[in-house]
C-alpha cells in the first residue's frame, strides 16, 4: 500500500480537473511541436538529405540558394582544396507543376544535383526526375509527365523518394542539365549559364574557412547544419514555435503547482496527523511528486491520443508531423514541469506543524 497511489486509485475525482487541463496542454504541446516539426522537416529535407560536410555559396548570396551562383572557375578552386574529396553542383527552382488528370497545380521544388543525396539514386537522364512522396498528395504518379512553370517544361517522374522537400514544396530531383533547362525556360530573369550552379555540395574534412580562403573570399561555406538553418524562415519558425512551446511548459508547471498547492492546503489537517504519527516531510512531499508525475503521465497519454486523432482529421496540406522524438520531448517536458510544479508545495508541506494535529477539531 502506498498512500499517494491509493489516493489516486480510490479518489480519482480529486484529480480529474488537473488531468483534463494537463491533457489539453499536452495536446497543445504535441500540436505545436508537430507543426514545428512538419514545417522544419518539410522545409529542410532537401538539404538535410545531402551527403555533404559543407555547402558552398557565392559570397554575395547571403546564404540563399536562389541568389547564389558558382562558376566553373570557382568550382575548380574548391576542388583543389586539401581535404575535399568530392564536389557536386546543386540548384533549386520553385515552380508550379501541371499534373496529368489534376486540376490543381502541384508546388514543386526542382532540384538539380550531381552527388546523390540520402535515398536518391544517381542523377537520371535529361527530362526525367525522382519525385518526393509528398507530390503524391497532388496526384503525381510514376510515369506522369509534369509540365513545369509557365513554360510547361516537361519532366517525367520515374520514381519516388522521401523526406527531400524544399521550403514546403515537393522535391523533384533531376540532373543539372534538366534543372538549368527548367530554370532558364521559366525564370528568364535569373538565367543560369552552362556549367554554372547555385551551390556546391562538398564532401571531405576541409574546414569551411579553408575553402573560402582558397576562393579568395568569392564563396561563403557553411556546414550542412548551418545551411539548413540558413534556409528562409527556418530559424525564425524554430525560435517562434520553441518560445510558444516553452511558454506552454511554464503554464503546465503553473497548473501543477497551483493544483497541488491547493490540494496540499486542503490536506493540511491530514498531513498534520500523519506527521504527528511519524511521517516525515520528505515522505509526504514524495507522495505529492508521485501524484503529480502520474497525473502528468495520464495527461500525456490522453493528450497523445487527442493529438493523433487531430492529426488524422486535419487535411494533409497542414504540415503537422508527429514524430517519436516529439512524443519523447513532450513526455519529458511534462514530467519535468510536474516535478518542478509540485516542488511549489514543498515549502507548504515542510511548514505543516505536527503539533497542529492536537487541539484541532476539524
Amino acid at each position: 500500500m502506498n498512500l499517494a497511489l491509493t489516493e489516486l486509485r480510490r479518489q480519482p475525482g480529486r484529480f480529474v480537473v488537473a488531468t483534463v487541463v494537463l491533457s489539453f496542454l499536452a495536446t497543445l504541446l504535441l500540436f505545436l511541436g508537430g507543426l514545428l516539426d512538419g514545417l522544419y522537416l518539410g522545409s529542410t529535407g532537401a538539404i538535410r538529405a545531402q551527403n555533404a560536410d559543407s555547402i558552398v555559396f557565392s559570397s554575395s548570396a547571403r546564404d540563399s540558394f536562389l541568389r547564389s551562383r558558382i562558376t566553373p572557375e570557382i568550382r575548380a578552386e574548391v576542388e583543389q582544396v586539401p581535404g575535399v574529396t568530392a564536389v557536386g553542383g546543386l540548384g533549386f527552382a520553385l515552380l508550379g507543376a501541371e499534373v496529368p488528370g489534376e486540376t490543381d497545380f502541384a508546388d514543386v521544388a526542382v532540384a538539380g544535383y550531381e552527388l546523390p543525396p540520402r535515398g536518391v539514386p544517381a542523377p537520371p537522364v535529361d527530362g526525367e526526375g525522382y519525385a518526393d512522396e509528398r507530390l503524391q498528395d497532388f496526384g503525381v504518379g510514376k510515369g506522369d509527365t509534369l509540365l513545369l512553370g509557365p513554360a510547361r517544361t516537361p519532366v517525367t517522374v520515374i520514381g519516388f523518394v522521401s523526406d527531400t522537400n524544399y521550403l514546403l514544396q515537393g522535391g523533384l530531383w533531376v540532373n543539372l542539365n534538366t534543372w538549368r533547362t527548367v530554370q532558364n525556360a521559366n525564370r528568364p530573369d535569373s538565367n543560369v549559364p552552362d556549367d554554372v550552379v547555385q551551390a556546391l555540395v562538398v564532401q571531405g574534412d576541409a574546414p569551411p574557412s579553408t575553402i573560402d580562403a582558397a576562393t579568395a573570399g568569392a564563396t561563403k561555406t557553411l556546414t550542412r547544419d548551418e545551411a539548413v538553418l540558413a534556409l528562409p524562415g527556418v530559424k525564425q519558425q524554430k525560435s517562434t514555435f520553441n518560445q510558444i512551446i516553452y511558454s506552454t511548459l511554464v503554464v503546465v508547471l503553473a497548473v501543477v503547482g497551483l493544483f497541488f498547492s491547493l490540494l496540499t492546503l486542503e490536506r493540511t489537517g491530514l498531513y498534520g496527523v500523519l506527521k504527528a504519527i511519524g511521517a516525515s516531510s520528505r515522505r509526504l512531499f514524495a507522495g505529492v511528486v508521485v501524484q503529480s508525475v502520474i497525473v502528468s503521465l495520464i495527461a500525456f497519454v490522453i493528450g497523445s491520443l487527442l493529438a493523433l486523432v487531430a492529426s488524422a482529421a486535419l487535411p494533409r496540406s497542414v504540415p503537422l508531423q508527429l514524430t517519436p522524438s516529439r512524443f519523447i520531448f513532450t513526455l519529458a517536458g511534462l514530467v519535468v514541469a510536474a516535478v518542478f510544479g509540485s516542488a511549489i508545495s514543498l515549502r507548504r508541506v515542510t511548514r505543516i506543524d505536527p503539533a497542529s494535529a492536537i487541539g484541532s477539531a476539524s
Binding site: 491509493t6 480510490r10 504519527i277 511519524g278 503539533a355 484541532s360 477539531a361
Partner: protein
C-alpha cells in the same frame, strides 16, 4: 537529568520543570510554567483544564510534537527535550501512540489500512504479519467485521476505535489522547472511555487523556488539573 532509580524503572513519562514560552510581538506568553509530571506504566492520567490552560501544549510536549523552552522530557528513558525535528519524527513513530479529536483517519483508506499506515511509515510493506496484527487489533476493538470499511462508512465511535487501534499498532508504552470523546455523544463517549481503560490496563500502557468533560475523569487513575500553565495534582480517582 537524574531520576529516582525506582521511579525511572516504572515511569514512562517524566516531565521536570517544563516551561513553554511563546513570543507574541514584544510580549512573552507562558503556555506551560514549571510543569512536573510523572506517568507510570499502565497508569491512566486525565488532564483537565479550561480552554487555553496549557493542556494541549503539555500533551504536545509529552508526545514530542513540541520542544520545551526549558526543562526536561523523558519518555522511556529517552530525554527528548533536545531532539531534532527528525529525531522527534522517528521517536513519535516508534514510542508514542496518538488519538486525536476528529480529523484522525486517512479518509481514503479502510479501517485495516489505517492501521497499516503506521507500518508503512516505519518502512514496512504491510506484509502478512502486519496485516494479521491490524486484524487482531481491530477484532479486539470490536471491529472485526468492519476491516474493509472506509472511515465515512463508520460511526463516530467506530472511527475513534480505529484510531485507538492505530495508536496501539506499534505497541507504544505511552498513548496520548486529545479529547477523544468530544465529538461523541455521552453514551458512545463512555463506551470509548471504557475501551481505552480496558486496552491500556491489559497492555500495561500509560495514557494521558486531555478532556474537558468531568464525567470522563472517573475512567482515569489520576486527574491532573492545569490552570494558566500550572499543574495542580492530587485529585485521585478510581477507575
Amino acid at each position: 537529568m537524574s531520576l529516582d532509580p525506582n521511579a525511572a524503572h516504572s515511569t514512562v513519562l517524566h516531565l521536570t520543570d517544563v516551561r513553554k514560552v511563546y513570543r507574541s510581538g514584544d510580549a512573552d506568553i507562558i503556555a506551560l510554567d514549571h510543569a512536573t509530571l510523572s506517568v507510570h506504566h499502565g497508569e491512566i492520567v486525565a488532564l483537565l483544564g479550561p480552554s487555553g490552560s496549557g493542556k494541549t501544549t503539555l500533551l504536545s510536549i509529552a508526545g514530542g510534537l513540541l520542544t520545551p523552552t526549558e526543562g526536561s522530557v523523558v519518555v522511556n528513558d529517552h530525554d527528548i527535550s533536545t531532539y531534532s525535528a527528525k529525531q522527534l519524527t522517528e521517536f513519535r513513530r516508534t514510542n508514542v501512540g496518538f488519538v486525536f479529536q476528529s480529523v484522525n483517519l486517512v479518509p481514503f483508506l479502510t479501517a485495516e489500512e489505517n492501521l497499516l499506515v503506521v507500518d508503512e511509515l516505519g518502512g514496512g510493506k504491510g506484509g502478512k504479519a502486519a496485516k494479521q496484527r491490524a486484524r487482531d487489533l481491530l477484532a479486539e476493538l470490536g471491529l472485526g467485521s468492519r476491516l474493509k470499511n472506509l472511515p465515512a462508512q463508520l460511526s463516530g465511535g467506530e472511527r475513534q476505535r480505529v484510531a485507538i487501534g492505530r495508536a496501539l499498532f506499534n505497541s507504544p508504552s505511552l498513548v496520548l489522547f486529545d479529547e477523544p470523546t468530544s465529538a461523541l455523544d455521552t453514551k458512545i463517549g463512555e463506551q470509548v472511555m471504557e475501551l481505552i481503560q480496558t486496552e491500556m490496563k491489559s497492555r500495561n500502557t500509560a495514557a494521558v487523556i486531555v478532556t474537558h468533560d468531568n464525567r470522563m475523569t472517573h475512567y482515569a487513575d489520576r486527574t491532573v488539573r492545569i490552570v494558566d500553565g500550572r499543574l495542580e495534582t492530587g485529585l485521585l480517582t478510581t477507575g
